[in-house]
Symmetry: C2
Subunit: 363 residues, 2 copies
């Protein structure tokens, strides 16, 4: 670590050193040899069949319930295009994944942010918002949320599932971090609680490689034909070549051990960050996640958060713009802290610098 | 060739036997070794930098004028989303690429088809349509058009370029076949005639591999920031892994010889089809292309084209639905004939079967 280099608390990248490049080389070569004539030719609009089947078996769903795509992010644009008309309401957690907010605003949705608490959204606020306007979609990151790090409790999940049935809205469950739990047990996914109303979106970005851009969507059988067709009309079919590499990696049984080794790498990084925050930022409100990529701080009004974000580089750190994660212009005092791509040394030094920067911006 | 198998005159696939799989294996392994830490990680929303630069040099444009994407098809949806509001007019050739018609209708465009003649669109009809409504976009496949096989003359190109300047509409020039001219010389592209008003869209699908899904867009500097941003907001970034393979293939100087060998493979197929049509379908109006993947027949009213399409399989051939290529429900008597993915034997037998089928459907 170079003491003169800034420490980036920005993008949620996996650790580059953990990318299993040599395995990818072997998998690519083997699958290109075996299936090159399929992978490099035009293919099916729902993606490479063997990988679809592998995922269907993994999740215990039917083949036609699985759609592959060039990132899970793009599925948000599919859902927005198919189910949201200009002026329709969409609910999101507040804060939420900035790119999801953008995807919904891009189609002219009226975006309603439901306040996020330490155990998931504020249910009272949710039900009050439902009384005003039933959303077409409720976009949620239930596990180790991006950006806050929150996991929604089982009780809140159950209530939301009930409400989805009662009011008929679709839940868009964005769950790429769910595989990376460092302690405790996963509560059931919305896909399990209310499968008929859930589009479960996930990807290999956090557990294998983001650069392959292989995402997948699992949805109810009655809705899937629309999504498959949208895929075809958007790009004929997603990239088969990368799907072939991912398939070979999975078929060889490399995914599960890779997830285990990522957990072994990331868990101490999260622990280190929590320890450093306890030590250097006592009294600050922050989320204690049990997995994933992020935790977050909610700074009190005694801190000038906007100035902190703008001046962070002077203190040797780079922060994301907090307000990008909010539906309504809040977020000056919200700080997202990704930890997976940083070494423990960088985390230690980064939190020390952050503490100094925060201290400097007390009002 | 199995005499009992139908011959597919449908999708415009490149010849599977011509896919250079072994080269792809070598290129993948080399670039993954060298650049794996970049290619398998998150990257830039405009695509893999070295491939962008390679394309910029190839076309003699600035780096920022090049955007990479997961197919050229998807760029049509970008152009539609960015430049067409519901109810806006879009011009296309009639017939046109069926997926382009779908992409424009999908955003609610009022689609106007300009009749296609043997040397490109009917200019009089084009100017008359301009008087009624100036389009936001004019989508055109100028070289060896999909589906008709027509190449638009230089005189018509020049006039359209003038009109684009005068009326201010954007030309979306879809040019994946331009590299595959089997005789004669390419006229200038719209990109060259009116660069400030042209989005030039192309891909490696027809000259290397469709399965990699690597397309590229070249546009004017003032418009590009919107497109780059749309890319980021759609999928964060396109698939770097496949772009890396394509880059290595190009860097090694393999693209140009591959194009030459494809021309050597496809030119006799086109010649064979023309010869067979002359022999077995005398008096039928068909396009004589000088390159690309397709030629087409315009059957006279003496033929029941709809019944021909529906019954084709009984005669051992499969035809595309002609009306899918038209903006206005025409096309029953339009037959697209792709020739690149068929062997000369299949072409000979296919045309004989087609002639029988047509003969059977005389009214």
């Amino acid at each position: 670590m170079d003491k003169n280099e800034p420490i980036y608390f920005t993008r949620g990248n996996p650790a580059t050193d953990a990318l299993p490049i040599d395995d990818f080389r072997e998998c690519a070569d083997a699958i290109f040899k075996e299936e090159g004539r399929v992978l490099f030719q035009y293919g099916h609009y729902s993606g490479y069949g063997p990988l679809r089947q592998w995922i269907a078996d993994w999740f215990g769903v039917a083949y036609e319930q699985v759609l592959l795509g060039n990132s899970s992010m793009e599925f948000l644009t599919f859902a927005a295009a198919l189910f949201v008309e200009k002026g329709d309401t969409v609910f999101l957690e507040n804060p939420s994944y900035d790119r999801a907010i953008t995807a919904m605003k891009r189609v002219g949705a009226t975006v309603v942010g439901i306040p996020l608490e330490h155990d998931g959204i504020d249910l009272q606020a949710f039900e009050a918002a439902l009384q005003k306007s039933v959303p077409k979609l409720f976009y949620i990151v239930p596990d180790f949320q991006n950006p806050a790090g929150v996991t929604i409790s089982i009780e809140k999940r159950q209530r939301i599932a009930e409400l989805a049935r009662e009011y008929g809205f679709l839940i868009v469950e964005d769950a790429p971090y769910r595989f990376l739990r460092y302690q405790g047990e996963n509560p059931p996914a919305f896909r399990e609680l209310v499968p008929e109303k859930t589009l479960h979106i996930s990807s290999f970005s956090k557990i294998m490689s983001p650069g392959v851009r292989v995402g997948f969507l699992i949805g109810p059988k009655d809705i899937m034909p629309k999504l498959h067709k949208w895929s075809e009309d958007t790009y004929i079919h997603p990239a088969l070549v990368t799907e072939g590499i991912v398939y070979e990696y999975c078929r060889r049984g490399l995914l599960e051990p890779n997830i285990e080794s990522l957990k072994a790498l990331y868990a101490p990084r999260m622990a280190c960050m929590l320890q450093m925050l306890d030590k250097h930022l006592p009294g600050i409100d922050f989320i204690r996640p049990e997995g994933g990529f992020f935790l977050s701080l909610n700074l009190s009004d005694e801190i000038n958060g906007r100035a902190l974000q703008e001046n962070a580089e002077k203190f040797g750190i780079v922060l994301s713009n907090g307000s990008g994660f909010f539906t309504d212009g809040q977020g000056d005092n919200f700080v997202r802290l990704p930890f997976c791509g940083l070494s423990p040394e960088e985390i230690e030094e980064g939190v020390i610098r952050l503490a100094k920067a925060i201290d400097h911006h007390r009002i």
